[in-house]
Structures are given as C-alpha cells and as structure tokens.
C-alpha cells in the first residue's frame, strides 16, 4: 500500500488508482515527506470523512494546466494527470510550497493532499510559461 501511495508513475486505470489512493491515505499516517509525492492528511476535521472528498483532477494537455485555477476544500486530494506527449514537472512557486512532482511522462500522475488553506501557485519547471493556481478554502 505504501508503494501505491508514493508512486507517481501509476499505470493503473484511473478508478483503481483512486481507490488505492483513498485506501492508502486512510491507512498511512506517517507518509514519508521526503518524496513529496503524497502528503498524508492530518486527522480529519470534524464531520468530514476523507472518502467524501472527491479527488480533483488537473489535466495537463497542450502545454496547459486545466483548470488553470481551481478552488478546493481543505484536505482535498489533487491529482495532476499528464495527457501530453511530452513530460512536465509540477513545482510550487511560493517558498515552502508542498508542490514538487518528479518528471511526469505521458499518463503519469502526481497526487497531493493540501490540508492547509491558502493559495498555492505552481508552474511547470520544464516549460515555465505553464502556470496554475489552487486555492484551498
């Protein structure tokens, strides 16, 4: 399970990856932050089960993040999916940003749970013209 939580080179179909992610994030409380691939959520806020927070997908296609601006609730899982035939790398702009993916080749995914409210700006370090924002409320 830990392997599935950390992998960002998942080749599994979307549904399987989603289930694995939910199960793994529920099971794994001590995620290794050094990979920065996935961040385990802290204890769930009262009245909000993690299973109810649908992962929010950001598609990378034609050298563009879609949606370029996204608003999500605290504790939501974000999944970047690279549908381009070139690799991209998601990197946070602001100091201390938790966003830093490995190189994402075609069909690779990068998952992050943002458990602190705020505005998270990011860009592609290979193609810096590509930018996006996630607002966590």
């Amino acid at each position: 399970m830990t392997h599935l939580l950390h992998t960002t080179y998942s080749r599994y179909p979307a549904s399987l990856a989603l289930v694995a992610l939910l199960v793994a994030s529920a099971a794994c409380r001590s995620a290794d932050r050094s990979t920065s691939a996935d961040v385990a959520p802290k204890v769930a806020p009262t009245g909000q089960a993690h299973e109810a927070l649908e992962p929010r997908k950001i598609t990378i296609g034609n050298f563009t993040f879609s949606p370029a601006s996204l608003e999500v609730p605290v504790g939501a899982t974000l999944v970047w999916v690279n549908e381009d035939d070139v690799p991209h790398v998601v990197v946070g702009v602001d100091a201390g940003s938790p966003l830093r993916s490995p190189a994402l080749d075609t069909d690779d995914r990068y998952s992050v749970v943002l458990d602190r409210p705020g505005t998270y700006r990011y860009f592609c370090s290979l193609h810096p013209h590509m930018t996006g924002t996630v607002v966590v409320k």
Partner: protein, 315 residues
C-alpha cells in the same frame, strides 16, 4: 574587394574571400576566379582544394537528441542520433569538435545520459555540451554537469578555437514561473568579465540551449535576460549565437549578431503558432530524417560572419 581577400602572391582572389561570398549567398557553391576564368565548385570541394588555413574554424553543432523519448514521430532517437554521428564522421573535412546545445536526454536519467554519451563519443572528436531543460530535472543539472562537463561546479564556461572565442551558457536552470529561459546574475557577471578586454575583432560564438532572442513568446521561446548578455557583446565585430530547443532552423541577423537555431536529431516541432502547442510534430517515417539534422559552422576570415550550413539526416 578588401585587401585580405586577395592572395598577395598572385592575382587570384583567395579562397577565404570566395568562401565569404559563398556564405553570404547561402549556397554550398563557391565561384572561383582563377586565371581570369569563373569556375564553380561545391563548398566542400573548395575547402579541400585550398591550402589549409592555420586559423581555420570548423565545428558541428548537434542538438536536442532527447535520448529516452519513445513516442511519435520517433520511437528510437538513439538510432537517429547515431545517424547524425555517422554523418559527421563521413564529412570530407572533419570538424575540429562537436558542440551539443542541450536536451541530450529526455528525463535527466543516468541511463539516458550514458546512452547519449556512448553514441556521441563515437564521433571521434572532442565534444562539448550545454544542458537543456530536460537535462536538469530534479537536481539543477548536477548529474549533467558532472558527466558532461567533468564537475558539478563547471556549468558555464568559455574556450578558444580557430581564432574565435566561445562562451557556453546555461539558460535552463532556476526558471521563473511565467518566464522564458534565464541566465541569472551570477552567470551574467561571469560573462561580462570573460569577454572584457578581448579584441573587438575576435569572433564570438555563444552557445545556449534556449534561444537568446524571442522567437515566439506564447510558447516561451526566448530568454528573459538575454539582452543583458548581448549588451556585453555589442562591441564585437562578429557574434554568432547558436541555440537549440525549438527543433527547427530559425535565423535572424541583428547588426553584427547572427542568431541561429539547429534542428533536433530526435523529432521536429511545429513552426511558431502552427499548432496548439510546441510538442513533437508527427511526421511520416519517410519524411522524419528530412526534418532532423546537424549544423556545420566554418569560418575563413577572422572578421566576418561565420558560415552555417544545416544538413538534414536524409542526405
């Protein structure tokens, strides 16, 4: 015709003068005036026929080999890279060295660097490198500089060859969001010092991966602080800027500065704005080699523009 284009020993125009004319004509043909008779030979033949110049500058630029790339239109970029190397080895007049202007690898993986190095070393000449953004993923280029420059601390550098001064720049690290390529303050400071005091008649060759002029801002094809770098080179009589990154030949002349981008040895990219994005351009297997290539750079006179000839791999 200027004095230096005439051979003092005879009445004929020197080979250097004629090759200069050929360079400006843009054709691989040289018109020779010998004994009052006009004759044409192709550029390579003329180079062989003339006496060897002790100051001859000659090198080949390759770029964007993207070893590790495995999609359309080229699932085997190592094969086309090998073809490029074979083509360079087969040149009638061997270049003094080869310059790779980056994106050696696709994903900065050690095995990609190793495969590329193995193939490129087969050219049998000195090879020098600058990184592309694909070569500096995850470590700001540490592995790349260690392998291709000999040390993780040797990033940008300069050297002399054939009477020209070469500066090899890195404009793919510390890229800013929403921006283009970037040289950075430390490198600019180094460049200013490096060229200071050099004679303005020294030809300057600048090598960097991303274009040092804005080819197409919508796709990020440019370098934010290039104008500052070019400012340090303003006083030189001949500046040649050789870039890669855009996987197609593009040229521009601005005063004494000649800008040129080379083809890739892996896959072509669309012309600016000709496609929704700058990804690999799918072409048929038959046409692939005609849109990949290398660039030969030569010079015969120390105070004029370098001659750049772009060869495709279908030759």
């Amino acid at each position: 015709m200027p004095e230096q284009d005439r051979d003092p020993k005879s009445a004929t125009v020197t080979r250097r003068g004629l090759l200069k004319c050929a360079a400006w004509a843009g054709a691989g043909v040289v018109w020779t005036m010998q004994g009052g008779v006009l004759r044409s030979t192709n550029l390579i033949g003329a180079a062989q026929a003339g006496e060897a110049s002790s100051r001859a500058l000659s090198f080949v630029q390759i770029s964007d080999s993207h070893i590790g790339f495995s999609k359309e239109p080229n699932a085997t970029p190592h094969v086309t890279l090998q073809s490029a190397i074979d083509q360079i080895r087969a040149l009638p007049q061997a270049p003094a060295f080869v310059m790779h202007t980056g994106d050696v690898s696709q994903l900065s993986k050690a095995e990609e660097f190793d495969t590329a190095a193995q193939i490129i070393q087969g050219v049998g000449r000195d090879v020098r490198f600058v990184p592309g953004e694909h070569d500096v993923i995850g470590d700001n280029g540490r592995a790349f500089f260690t392998k291709f420059n000999g040390s993780p601390d040797r990033k940008w550098y300069s050297f002399d060859h054939g009477g020209a001064h070469f500066v090899a720049l890195v404009n793919v690290v510390d890229l800013k969001p929403g921006g283009f390529g970037q040289l950075g303050a430390e490198q600019l400071e180094w460049l200013e010092k490096d060229v200071k005091g050099r004679s303005a008649s020294t030809p300057i060759v600048v090598l960097a991966h991303m274009p040092l002029w804005t080819v197409y801002s919508e796709w990020g094809w440019g370098t934010d602080d290039a104008p500052q770098a070019l400012g340090y080179l303003k006083r030189f009589g001949s500046v040649t800027v050789l870039n890669g990154h855009i996987h197609q030949v593009m040229q521009k002349v601005e005063g004494h500065v000649q800008f040129h981008t080379a083809r890739s040895t892996a896959f072509p990219q669309p012309a600016p704005g000709a496609a929704p994005s700058p990804g690999p351009m799918k072409v048929s297997a038959e046409t692939l080699r005609s849109v990949l290539g290398v660039s030969r750079v030569t010079q015969r006179s120390h105070d004029r523009a370098l001659a750049i000839v772009d060869d495709t791999l279908s030759g």
